[in-house]
Symmetry: C2
Subunit: 156 residues, 2 copies
Amino acid sequence: MSSDPPGFELPLRLFLAFRVLIDELHAELARQGHPDARPMHGFVLQAIMRGGDTAVELGRTLGVSKQAAGKTVETLERLGYVERAVDPRDTRRRVVRLTARGFDMLERSARIFDDLRGRWAAELGEERLRALEADLRRVTPPDVFRLDVPGWFGGQ
Amino acid sequence: MSSDPPGFELPLRLFLAFRVLIDELHAELARQGHPDARPMHGFVLQAIMRGGDTAVELGRTLGVSKQAAGKTVETLERLGYVERAVDPRDTRRRVVRLTARGFDMLERSARIFDDLRGRWAAELGEERLRALEADLRRVTPPDVFRLDVPGWFGGQ
DNA sequence: CTACGATGGTCAACGTTGTTGTCCATATAG
DNA sequence: CTATATGGACAACAACGTTGACCATCGTAG
């Protein structure tokens, strides 16, 4: 017997679930004073904190060219989320640092994500949610931060 | 006590899980004679079958402008996945139809997705996988096809 | 100390994929 | 018959990625 759900439903649900969380995050972030934050920005700010402190390094972490990383940093700088300073030990490097506003966005994001997770826990039960997270960990690569996200969708 | 996992892990895992499936799908599709298929194409072909039989209609279904939908159809036509014919009842309309190759890709995709789901079932157990699918259904909108996917990520 | 290769950063040109605005042909309603 | 709505195409533009070229600076090997 094969009363299994069709395989194509799984990726769709995974993507929709992801979208639901991200969309609610940004709706809430907009309400809390960060209307310009885009889905990428949070990832990039996180990436900056974990060792990607120059454009080149950031590009490597994110899996894009240094030029693309540079443009993104420029955008984040314009939005007031990061600032750049010259490294006194190596005047070629322009060190990227989160501003207070950048940290604020990251903290709010963390709190909102925790809140959203709490809502799912209320809906599904903490047990089931933990099981879901554990299962997802088993089918995904361990390093959560190697997303290679930029525009991997699309492309003709 | 709050030994709950941080909330930000959930969206990341959902996205990574989605990516794993899609990447493996396209690696396998490439092996099976569809190296040019892109993640979007499958969705669009599906959308064409469920009632989006002109560029305008397709644009509405996908949540993009009719011009963008037209360009996508053009690409799919160039790749041999769809063909266009004039509607004899309304000579303004250019009806989009899947070619044999288009159906072939869709059928292969369905089989590959079923196979991937089977692998997850072997890894997690059929019970857990069903529970995971059931849980995802509870936290996502019922209409799976209203993705609004095109480039909703990114944007500076 | 100097010269050279490696590295960080920027500028420029281009490709892809979306957008809006405009226009034309055709269908349909009054 | 005429006016409005609709399908479709063309053009210009924007966002975001790419590659290639170039410059300044660092580190090291002679």
